[in-house]
Subunit: 338 residues, 2 copies
DNA sequence: CTGAAGTGATAAACCGGTATAGCTCCTGCA
DNA sequence: TGCAGGAGCTATACCGGTTTATCACTTCAG
């Protein structure tokens, strides 16, 4: 037989389709004896639910979506997303729910995807990353009534459920460590100021500067690319009075920055300490290896999956789950200033 | 109205459900006038097909799958997959077909996924990557009668449709260039010998060695990790007579190798030339920047999508499409030997 | 003028599940 | 003895499309 249906099982067991459905879904309506018999037959016939049929009757699809709106070129190098996706899948597969992944060019296209997914009933909910200030996606998702979980920051004004770690505490951990080493001129090569996480980091640094007695603590915006990371570093190191430490908002930019330092003959960590705000093989392969802030992105994804499933089950709940803080992994790129 | 169905459209247009279905799918059975009227109403009501309903009646799901069996840690750093996925999606979205992406630990789990997808009718076909020698997936997919396209090599003994570039020609381009520079001792830090592409590269080097007058041209197997790449490099550079050039099967290993050269005081490209078999930001960020073989992975993915759709439409066709050869991007890590 | 073929449509079955109303026993209690 | 109530199961409607059998009507050839 090509592909058994519950009707086939019902025939074989001498019961009705309904009874089989009850038995397979573990809901009351059949005796334990009958249930066991049906389950045994289903097992033996290697029955699997037809996902489309199930999605048609009930209205869940057992599938959630993740849209990433970044140019693929940037993506390739960001270990963040690969780990996130793995974690999400690990959290979802326990409930045999699949993940739809889509990479698009911009937020506009991303919103279009949500509309389509929603109207075609392709997903039960979505995961949101890279929240921006006054993010248009929030209103859109509210309007569509599509369950969603925000990753990396609280759910914004729409108060969507979220899974987040404290960017503020992370930034504080970094600068407090640098200050303890004796650094007083610390620069911050930030990401896109439009992103909320970038803003939180900039604010944390600005707030901490007086308390730590920093003479200088500028945050410089970039587009997260290696090119702008390098350019910004070049500018910083060309000043009459250089910073003695630079904090980069991503591993890619930190690596680019290290390249500039070498090119300009600035020794790391002798004359300049470098810290990356994200850890990856990239930071470990460098010479010197870079001190970096490591987060458990896999676990992040797993928790996001969990929260999303709760939200799908009950769209009224509002969860804001804080995850473990990132930890500073000290390597060779940081030392007391000369 | 929450979500219009074809029944709603039929009501509004004063025709039957069947007529609406015919009109929307561009098949005969309705007059041009009626068709136009129905299409206008559907448009106005913002109707979208319910994917599950469609999948139930017909037996296509408008969704294809890609399973990657590699540890997520490796994945993050491989730009290859991000570009491939983007390319696939670009090729698929033109036909509004979605991509199911799954990352699993090993081939066994991968096969399990194919079985599940097939029995749950979740995908119309799949893309296969990292073909191994006597790959068990081929027989499995044949048995499941699940349309599939192999990426990166011909379809193996099962003769599955494929999209590929010539690893042989690529390797020849690299060693011929190195030989032309004057190198006679070239080592090859290869990947997993279990992978077909690794084998093809090893064979190409071995075959070309006599013709190019190479004194030495060993291929050393690794697991593609940065750790083994470094260890193998250390061994090569510890020999009494060192190779003057090393070709690495991946960008990550090449970077690790460069690190070892620096650590051992071997100047690049002065005493050692380095070539990476894959290009990425990684190779560009190094100092010196690495000479690398660049392939158009995005285009690769796009073509694979195209071929897969053809195979789904007609499972009997056997396409083996060869794509553009990779080109050697020369940077600072290669020079004539001392 | 009749029969055959073709056009444009409809009604109903169907895909594989889920949800529900209702039926048949059996048990317990007044 | 009678009846309420629940357990266990069946029959059937339903989800939103696609597909097929059928039918009314026109047209055209013989």
């Amino acid at each position: 037989m090509a592909r058994p249906t519950i009707a086939d099982i019902a025939d074989r067991a001498g019961v009705s389709k309904g009874a089989v459905s009850f038995a397979l879904n573990g809901r009351p309506g059949v005796s334990e004896a009958t249930r066991a018999r049906i389950l045994a037959i289903a097992e033996q016939m290697a029955w699997r639910p037809h996902s489309a049929a199930r999605a048609l009757g009930a209205s869940r699809v057992d599938s959630v979506g993740l849209v990433i709106a970044r140019p693929a070129r940037t993506l390739g190098v960001e270990p963040f997303f690969a780990h996130l996706v793995s974690g999400l899948q690990s959290g979802l597969s326990a409930h045999s729910i699949s993940l739809q992944l889509l990479i698009v060019e911009d937020t506009e296209a991303e919103i279009e995807v949500y509309r389509r997914w929603n109207s075609e009933h392709r997903v039960d909910g979505v995961i949101l990353v890279d929240l921006t200030v006054r993010d248009p996606r929030i209103d859109e998702l509210k309007a569509l009534e599509l369950p969603a979980v925000v990753i990396g920051g609280r759910g914004g004004k729409g108060n969507l459920p979220s899974v987040w770690a404290s960017d503020r505490d992370a930034m504080l951990a970094v600068v407090e460590y640098l200050a303890a080493l004796g650094h007083r001129r610390i620069a911050h090569v930030a990401g896109t100021p439009n992103f909320q996480h970038t803003q939180r980091r900039m604010r944390a640094l600005r707030d901490a500067a007086p308390r730590l007695g920093l003479l200088e603590a500028p945050s410089l915006a970039t587009d997260f690319s290696d090119a702008e990371g390098a350019a910004t570093t070049r500018k910083l190191l060309s000043q009459a009075v250089r910073p003695t430490a630079i904090v980069y908002d991503s591993d890619v930019m930190a690596v680019a920055g290290l390249g500039v330092a070498m090119e300009m003959g600035v020794s790391v960590p002798g004359e300049l300490s470098i810290v990356a705000f994200d850890d990856s093989i990239l930071t470990q392969l460098m010479h010197p290896a870079l001190t970096a802030l490591s987060r458990d992105t896999f676990e992040f994804g797993r928790q996001a999956a969990e929260v999303l499933l709760e939200v799908i089950a009950d769209p009224t709940v509002s969860i804001n789950r804080r995850t473990a803080d990132p930890v500073l992994t000290v390597r060779e790129s940081t030392a007391p200033p000369a």
